[in-house]
Symmetry: C2
Subunit: 337 residues, 2 copies
């Protein structure tokens, strides 16, 4: 068996790629939420000076990559790979940001699981000796996602209470083979799981089984203790999906309830911000991880966390063709020494 | 510098991941082309028994993954990762194929550069000690791509002579840490290059500078000799882009003309199959590499090849927003011992 594999699905990173810096940017609504003090850049205007929301989102990606590099006292030329993607068709915002920064580019798509996916691939490229510095990034924008996946905003459509609110935000982690900071220790890559949910306004229920499969695999492979974590954070299951994840894991004999939260539940004030079940979108776990969680690790308020970004891999085309929602979740375990 | 890096952009794979098997599948038109004897599976009907072209494409992906695994006398459970993507929004065909095969899944998007991208990531995961067996795959389908990127086929739109024909095809390479077969030796990951071309019916001209940037970087990093290759094959620049690539590389002092071809030019009979500048689509370099090139390596008719799949990262949305076409190309060097 490959020397870094543990159990059936998990890998152990022997050299512990270091997250030497992060950057996060959010839109006006997210900047009013409970995590507002943790984000690096808060936009007053979700057009960000651009001619369209798509290119505003692209500028957000470019901004966090450049900002994370600058915070680490590095230059763009030092970065060996940009591993990144977003929710838009053909990764529009990421592709154009990659053009702007001119870093060798590996585009990834995992819907809202992208932050954990780009962190995973980036970490393995460093741990495997292929890179010294990797920028792992993703983004989403309420206005671009809504018009692509659901309806033009101008229609003013109502959503059911199980729906989530796509976060306008982006985040970048700068992974390094050297330096100081929290280290990526283990990675469990998810399988595509589909329990037959067809309601695109209930993504939490669709994605929860994928999160459960990945979290269970990690604990089964490593025999680690859930309570050794300061936080286990799913990407964005929202309020409904979060409870499903807790229940399904308890049925499998794993109780994460003491340390568990969801980025989609953390980023908004669910009582007062009219976001129904919470935040969603690649930018949700990206901004919560690179804003809040990373800083808690860096300040030694957290010692060990698991980020499990979750993605729903449906497309409007597959939905029209009456298919249910395939989902995926990847787990990244990050700890201080 | 990370121990496997050479020069500014290239990595050397010390453990030489082995391509132990491949599988290729093509549609009826490709099955009448010059490479027809090299493809494993040739479809009479491009719906492949499914209810839509999208799910026909998805079944093609599933078929080549399962077929490559079977040819190597392995089982699906032995495969640690599926690294794959396609041209469709949200990687529709790949996501649903990943659901069917249930292999831990890393979705990638690089437009028509995807075969080289999935081979690159898969090879680094094996060489880095994270996996024993990786399925690297991609696909495209004339009917799904045309209606997503251009016009519904029913309209019968005409194309200019610079346009290319999207290949209906899929291919999978099964990468292994052990076994016999050609090995992946070097990888050069591309930057996103955009020289301002805005004509989506002239993708070859848009993508050629990206191919040139990557090929030049490889030779600059390694000081390798172009004529040491039996074949350097770009992904799908077509007839026009191919000539541009030769000319631009000559200007930079590198002459690849003796060993150079393009998968888009090879897969069709350009004189008689009415495909204008040649084939395109992720499935083009996927079927040509996994069908023709791999077999030439396996039979020792080729000893050393470079696959440079090229991708145009435009989206219909960015085109409507008057943006030019960003492109990317990745180079994978494969050789017998």
């Amino acid at each position: 068996m490959a020397k870094k594999r543990i159990g059936s699905r998990t890998v152990k990173l022997e050299n512990g790629p270091v997250i030497i810096s992060t950057s996060s940017i959010v839109g006006p609504k997210e900047a009013q939420g409970p995590l507002k003090d943790y984000f690096d850049i808060k936009l007053d205007d979700d057009l960000y000076g651009e001619k369209s929301w798509e290119f505003a989102e692209s500028k957000m990606v470019q901004t966090v990559v450049e900002h994370a590099v600058k915070k680490a006292n590095k230059t763009i030329k030092d970065v060996n790979y940009m591993v990144a993607g977003d929710l838009l068709n053909q990764l529009l915002s990421t592709s154009f940001a990659a053009r702007a920064v001119s870093i060798p580019f590996l585009g990834v798509y995992g819907a809202c699981s992208t932050m954990a996916q780009s962190l995973s691939i980036g970490s393995m490229l460093i741990d495997g000796g292929f890179a010294d510095l990797v920028a792992a990034s993703t983004s989403s924008h309420y206005c671009t996602a809504e018009r692509q996946f659901r309806f033009p905003l101008e229609l003013g459509n109502q959503k059911p209470m199980t729906a989530q609110w796509t976060v306008t935000g982006s985040g970048c982690s700068l992974l390094s083979s050297q330096g100081n900071g929290p280290k990526v220790k283990y990675i469990t890559i998810g399988k595509v799981i589909d329990e037959g949910i067809t309601d695109a306004n209930n993504m939490g229920a669709a994605m929860a089984p994928a999160a459960v499969d990945t979290i269970y695999s990690y604990f089964n492979d490593t025999k680690d203790d859930p309570n050794s974590f300061d936080m286990i954070a799913t990407g964005d299951l929202g309020k409904v999906g979060m409870q499903i994840a807790i229940d399904l894991l308890k049925e499998k004999g794993i109780d994460i309830s003491k340390v568990y939260t969801d980025c989609g539940v953390e980023i908004f004030d669910l009582e007062n911000q009219d976001v129904h079940c919470g935040g969603s979108g690649c930018g949700c776990s990206a901004s919560v991880f690179n804003g809040y969680i990373y800083k808690m690790l860096k300040d030694k308020k957290f010692n060990k966390v698991m980020l499990v970004s979750t993605g729903a891999l449906l497309s409007p085309t597959s939905t029209l063709q009456k298919e249910s929602i395939p989902s995926v979740a990847h787990a990244v375990i990050i700890a201080n020494e």
